[in-house]
Each structure stands twice: as structure tokens, then as C-alpha cells.
């Protein structure tokens, strides 16, 4: 399994979890994996929606003790 970079966006109101993920992907290589940690429940829908629109891969999304863990793989 590829090494997964944790993006700890808990409590990030600005830029927020999705914008932070978009920024990290800009400087990543195709195939790199990221796991976003978010306390914003909106991340559970807006990150998968964006990932689908752009064509990256959603590897999983789960909630644990109020923290969303959303894993994404850069595909292009």
C-alpha cells in the first residue's frame, strides 16, 4: 500500500479541509494518497463530490469519535 499523508484539517475553518486537500494535491505526484482529518461534517459530502467531479479516487470515508477520515488518491 502506498504511504498515506495525513492532512490534519481538524478545526481548520479557513482554508478548510477541502481547499487544503486541493492545495496538497497540486504539489503531489500521481498515485500519492492523502487522508484528510476533518471535524466539519460537510467534508463527508463536499470532498467526495469534488473528487468525483475532478476524477481522483475516493479510497474511503469514515467517522470516528466526531472526526471524519477521508482518503483520496491522486489519479491525474
Amino acid at each position: 500500500m502506498a504511504e498515506r499523508t495525513i492532512v490534519d484539517a481538524r478545526g481548520s475553518f479557513c482554508p478548510g479541509p477541502l481547499m487544503e486537500l486541493i492545495g496538497r494535491l497540486k504539489f503531489a505526484q500521481v498515485g500519492d494518497e492523502f487522508e484528510v482529518l476533518s471535524t466539519d461534517k460537510g467534508s463527508a459530502s463536499d470532498i467526495p463530490e469534488w473528487v468525483k467531479k475532478v476524477g481522483h479516487e475516493l479510497l474511503g470515508a469514515r467517522e470516528e469519535a466526531g472526526i471524519w477520515h477521508i482518503a483520496v488518491k491522486k489519479l491525474k
Binding site: 475553518f13 487544503e20 492545495g23
Partner: protein, 377 residues
């Protein structure tokens, strides 16, 4: 003890002054040596570039001599660092000097990187450097009507800039009597019109009231100057007559060259402000990879926390507090109204409706900034 600050922007300057005051006695007695290494002898008030692009400030108002802002206890040298030898606790400068340190602070900032999007630098107006802001000012003056598109790169400095330039352009064209000939179209990378949900909720009805069209999930992929089209990663396409962009930013080249962090942003502990894996290297301002606004106020509050902690390390042997992630951003909502967003890691923002009073406070802050950089405000 040797303390070296790399960078003379807002974060480095406030930190340097803060430390020079807190450690005045130690510096005078020779117990502490405080050095600042910078690439420039000038200090720029970067938020002024927004006003420069709209003809509301002039270039001379943006600069001060760096030495005029610094406490005398700081050994300031215009000699940028080229090599970070972190394992040896030293840095090497362009001039060839090697500075050893006990504590290193990296505050080199970020830079606009329009080259990340093909066609953007050649075809868009930007306002993140003096040169491009002046070019945009002239282009706006010559513009007589058509579709103006605002497009936003990620990550970018000053999260309020996309909204501010849009509202200010509305008033700019209105004042010129050509607002009815201009279509303003705002695009944004995520699923709402601003990162901050309460700001986004306020902005949408404002856009509708002012006749500003908008679309979300729009991340620039490329700009075609011939067909005057900007395409998005999401498959969208927008035609423009005038493209105004908040470009993506990168950290400074020297950070990338020294392999300190992807995109020039250094992995940093968000409460300790230490570089990951290093206990005596601190990072503040735009240089960090902390998921926090790349804004002057972010650097300002980090510098205050770090000043207190480094002084405590010298005097007590350990830092005294965690950083709380405080940010305070003005939001210009046109030429004469503004509001603000204040938040930290633990408390969300609760912006109030814009007022003239907050706008005039921002106008005053444009002058008070120099007191802020000196660490007086």
C-alpha cells in the same frame, strides 16, 4: 544563545522586534545574539497591492526601509539564506557567510505562482506584485465593458482577496458609470463561494443584489488566450473579456531547493510551531503547511506566540504556551463598507454585516501597519 530569523516579512519582523524587547538585557550583555537574514532592505505592505490595482494607493505607500522598522538589538543583514544545514545547526547565505544557531526561525513567506496554470500569467491580470498590480490598474482604466471573470488558484495568500476584489470591482465600474456594460462573474474552487461558511452565506445574496454571477467547484486547469477561455479541472469552461486571477501560491524557491517541504511549505506543528522532526527550528507565516489562512494576521499572531516562547526558553528553559491559531481578516465589501472575520483553531468566525466604520478602520490600519510591524500594535 544564537537566534537566527530567516526572512524579514511581517512574521519575521514582528518576531524580531518582539524578541529584541523581551530579551533587551540579554542582547545587551551578549548572552543572546539575535540575527535577521533577509533578501531585501525594503519591507512591503502586501495588502496594499489590492488598493494599488484599483488606483486607491500608490507604490511609494507600500514600502519602508526595513532598518527603520527594526529594534536596534537586531543584527539585520541583507544576505538571504541559500542553504539550510539543519543537522549541523547552521545556515549558509548567498554572500557565503555561515551562521550557526541554537534556535532557527524560518519565515520566508510565499510567492504567487501563476505558471502553475498554463496560459494564466500571459492572459490574466494579477495583483500580487507591484508590477502586476500596476499593469492591472492600467488595464482596468482602459476597459470599457464586457465580461470580467474572477478565477482563484489553490493554495492562495489572503483568503478574502477573491471576494474583496469582486466587490471592489463592482464599485469601481459603478463609479466609472459603466457597471451596466460589465458582467462580473465570480468563480471559486470549492462547493460554496467562500471557505468560511458564514461568509459564503452572506456573500451569495450580496452577489444577487449586485448582479454578480457566480459558480463553484471551479479550479483553473488552463487559460486559452486566443479564445479567451478559462477551463476548469471539473470540466467547466468560461469565456472572458478580462480575466482577473488570485493565483496559486508556492513557498519560496529556497525552501523547495533545500527539500524542506512540498511546494515550498514546511511541515509544521500547529501549536508548537516547530518544524516537524526538529525541536529548535520554528516556522511561521505563509511558510508553514498548517491548514490555516495564509494571511498577515496569521503570521502576526504566530510571531507573538513564538516571541513569548523563545524568550521563555532563554529565561526559563522551556516554552510557555501553545499557539491557538488566531486569525483576524478584514473583508472589504466595496469601496466604503467592510466587515471582518476573527477565529482560531477552536472558535469559528461570526462575521457581522459590513459597515462604514469597519471600512475606515481598515483604511486606518493601512497606515497603522507600520506600527504593527514594529511590534507596537
Amino acid at each position: 544563545m544564537k537566534i537566527v530569523i530567516v526572512g524579514g516579512g511581517m512574521g519575521g519582523t514582528i518576531l524580531g522586534n518582539n524578541l529584541a524587547r523581551r530579551l533587551g538585557g540579554e542582547i545587551q550583555s551578549g548572552k543572546v545574539k539575535l540575527t535577521m537574514l533577509s533578501a531585501s532592505d525594503k519591507h512591503m505592505y502586501q495588502p496594499g497591492l489590492l488598493y494599488l490595482a484599483l488606483g486607491r494607493m500608490t507604490p511609494d505607500e507600500l514600502y519602508r526601509d526595513q532598518t527603520s522598522l527594526l529594534e536596534p538589538g537586531i543584527d539585520f543583514q541583507v544576505d538571504p539564506v541559500e542553504e539550510f544545514r539543519l543537522d549541523a545547526n547552521e545556515v549558509r547565505t548567498k554572500g557565503g557567510k555561515v551562521h550557526g544557531y541554537d534556535i532557527l526561525v524560518i519565515a520566508t513567506g510565499s510567492r504567487p505562482a501563476p505558471e502553475m496554470i498554463p496560459g494564466l500569467a500571459e492572459n490574466a491580470e494579477l495583483f500580487y506584485t507591484e508590477q502586476t498590480a500596476l499593469k492591472m490598474f492600467k488595464r482596468l482604466q482602459a476597459f470599457q465593458g464586457g465580461k470580467v471573470v474572477i478565477a482563484v488558484g489553490v493554495p492562495h495568500k489572503c483568503p478574502m482577496a477573491p471576494l474583496e476584489i469582486t466587490f471592489m470591482l463592482h464599485d469601481y465600474f459603478k463609479d466609472r458609470g459603466i457597471r451596466d456594460k460589465v458582467q462580473l462573474h465570480y468563480t471559486y474552487p470549492i462547493g460554496r463561494v467562500h471557505n468560511l461558511e458564514p461568509v459564503a452565506k452572506w456573500a451569495v445574496p450580496e452577489f444577487e443584489r449586485l448582479g454578480i454571477t457566480h459558480e463553484t467547484f471551479f479550479n483553473m486547469k488552463e487559460v486559452d488566450g486566443k479564445s479567451q477561455t478559462v477551463k476548469s479541472e471539473e470540466g467547466g469552461e468560461v469565456k472572458y473579456d478580462l480575466l482577473i486571477s488570485i493565483p496559486a501560491h508556492k513557498g519560496m524557491e529556497i525552501i523547495e531547493k533545500n527539500k524542506l517541504g512540498a511546494g515550498g511549505f514546511i511541515p509544521t506543528d500547529k501549536v508548537k510551531l516547530t518544524m516537524e522532526g526538529r525541536s529548535n527550528v520554528y516556522v511561521i507565516g505563509d511558510t508553514t503547511n498548517i491548514p490555516i489562512s495564509k494571511a498577515g494576521s496569521t503570521a502576526h499572531y504566530q510571531a507573538e506566540t513564538l516571541g513569548e516562547n523563545i524568550a521563555a526558553i532563554v529565561k526559563l528553559g522551556s516554552p510557555v504556551r501553545d499557539h491557538d491559531g488566531k486569525v483576524f481578516c478584514f473583508i472589504e465589501c466595496g469601496k466604503d463598507r467592510a466587515t471582518y472575520a476573527m477565529f482560531n483553531y477552536y472558535n469559528p468566525p461570526d462575521p457581522k454585516p459590513p459597515t462604514r466604520a469597519v471600512h475606515w478602520f481598515k483604511m486606518a490600519y493601512n497606515k497603522l501597519y507600520w506600527a504593527s510591524a514594529r511590534g507596537l500594535l
